[in-house]
C-alpha cells in the first residue's frame, strides 16, 4: 500500500532533530520575513532551507514540489505584471504585452513568500514520520484522541484508495465511461464516489465498536513505549531560530526609526 506521507527514511541529523524544533523552524521562516518586511530576509531563509535540505540529502525530493507551485507563481506574475492597479512604469515588452515594474515587484514578493513557505515545510515534511510526530505531540500533552485521529488518517487513505480502484474497475466493466467530454466525465463522478463514501462510512461503525471495546473512552493516563525528550542540540537549534525572529523585529524597528 502506498503511503500519502512524503517522509523519506534516511538517518541524517535533520531526521533525528526533534519534530518540535523543526516546527519552530517553520514558524521562524514564515514569520520573520513578514515581520522584517524586506525582500532579502526571504532570500536568507530560502538559503537556510536549501542548506538544511542539502544536509538532509533530500534536495532531489523537493523539485517536484517546487514544479507544482510554479504554475501558481507564473499565473501571479502574469496577472500582476500585466494588470496590477499600481502599474505605472513599463519594464519590458514581450510581443504585444507590456510588463510593469510595480506589479512584477509585488508578484516577486508573493512568489518568494510561496517558495519560502514551501521549502520550510519541505524540511519538516520530508524528514518527519507522521507516527513519530503524533507520538511526540501526545507526550507533550496533546489529547491522545486527536492523536488517534491523525494517525488513523494515514491508515484509512491507502485503504480507501484500494477500494476506489476496485470500484473504478467494477464500474468500467459494467460499461461506464470515465473518459470523453466534460459532461461524460462529470456524470461518472457520482457512481464512482458514492459507493466508496458509503462503504467507508459504514466501516466506521465497526471501527468505533472495536475502539470502544479496547478502552478508547477510558480516562486513565496513557503511558509510552518510547520516551522522546528535547535534547541539547534541539534546544540550541530552537534558540538560534528565536534569535533570527528577534533579529527581524530589531530590523523592522530600525527601518522605522
Amino acid at each position: 500500500m502506498k503511503s500519502i506521507s512524503l517522509y523519506v527514511d534516511k538517518d541524517t541529523c535533520l531526521t533525528r532533530l526533534h519534530p518540535f524544533a523543526k516546527m519552530f523552524y517553520i514558524l521562524a521562516a514564515v514569520s520573520a520575513p513578514l515581520i522584517g518586511g524586506a525582500l532579502w530576509i526571504y532570500g536568507l531563509f530560502l538559503a537556510i532551507s536549501l542548506c538544511l535540505l542539502i544536509s538532509g540529502k533530500i534536495i532531489r525530493k523537493v523539485f517536484p514540489l517546487i514544479a507544482f507551485s510554479f504554475t501558481i507563481i507564473i499565473t501571479i506574475f502574469l496577472i500582476h505584471g500585466l494588470f496590477n492597479q499600481e502599474n505605472q512604469k513599463v519594464l519590458f515588452h514581450l510581443g504585444p504585452l507590456a510588463f510593469y515594474e510595480e506589479g512584477l515587484l509585488y508578484a516577486a514578493r508573493i512568489g518568494l513568500n510561496i517558495l519560502n513557505m514551501l521549502l520550510a515545510f519541505a524540511t519538516f515534511v520530508l524528514t518527519t514520520k507522521p507516527a513519530d510526530l503524533v507520538d511526540d505531540l501526545e507526550q507533550a500533552g496533546f489529547s491522545p484522541r486527536f492523536g488517534y485521529m491523525i494517525s488513523s488518517v494515514f491508515q484509512i487513505i491507502p485503504q480507501m484508495m484500494g477500494t476506489m480502484n476496485t470500484i473504478m474497475d467494477a464500474q468500467r466493466s459494467r460499461g461506464m465511461e470515465t473518459e470523453g467530454s466534460l459532461f461524460v466525465r462529470a456524470k461518472a463522478f457520482i457512481p464512482l464516489i458514492s459507493p466508496v463514501v458509503s462503504s467507508s462510512l459504514i466501516n466506521t461503525r465497526e471501527r468505533a465498536i472495536a475502539l470502544e471495546v479496547r478502552g478508547f473512552d477510558s480516562k486513565n493516563k496513557k503511558t509510552f513505549l518510547r520516551e522522546h525528550k528535547l535534547a541539547g542540540k534541539d534546544k540550541t537549534f530552537m534558540l538560534l531560530m528565536a534569535l533570527l525572529i528577534a533579529g527581524s523585529i530589531v530590523w523592522r524597528v530600525l527601518t522605522w526609526l
Binding site: 496577472i79 488518517v153 484509512i156
Partner: protein, 200 residues
Amino acid sequence: MKNLFKTKLNAACFVLIPACIGINYLGKLFASVLKLPLWLDSIGTCIGGILGGPIIGGICGAANNLIYGFTTGDSITLVYALTSLGIGVAVGIMARLGRMEKLSGAILTACVAGLTAVVISTPLNLIFWGGTTGNIWGDAVFAWSQASGLPVALGSFLDEVLVDVPDKLITLLIVYAIIKGLPKKLTSLYELDDEVASLD
C-alpha cells in the same frame, strides 16, 4: 436551538473524522482523475458536519487541511484551514436546523457554505497570493477585473464566488444523495436525542 452546538465526543465521532478526511482526499482525487474543473474536496467535511454537528464539521475541516499541509508538503492547503473550518461549521449548523432533509434545503445549505467559504477565502487569497485562486476560470475573471480597473478586493471576491459557490452546490448535492442512502444503523450512532433505557 439549544442543541445547535451540542456534540457527542465519543469513539463514533472520533472515527468519523478520519473517514471524512479520507473522503475529502478521494473527492479531490476523483476530480483530478476525471479532470473536472472543480475542487470537490469538501465532501467529507460536509458529511462530518451533517452527521456530527457543527463542532465535528469544523474539526474535520481544520484537521483535513492541517494534516495534508504537514504531511504532504502542500503548504497552499494549510492556508485554507480556516475556510474548511468555516464550511464545516456552516454545514453543521444548517443540518442541525433541519435544512438537509429536503433538496431545496440542501441547495440553500450549499449557498450558505459557498458564501462562508468566499468570505473567509478572499482575505486569505489577497494576503498570500495577491488575489488569485489557482483555478483557471476564476483567475481569468480576476485578470479581466484587474484589466478593467476594478479594485483588487472586488476582483478577488468575484474570482472566489465564481469558483466556490458552484463547487459547494455540486458537493452538497452529492452529499445529499449519499446521506439519504446511509443505513439507519449508522446514522443512529450520531443522533443526539437517544437515551439508554434499562429493563429493570
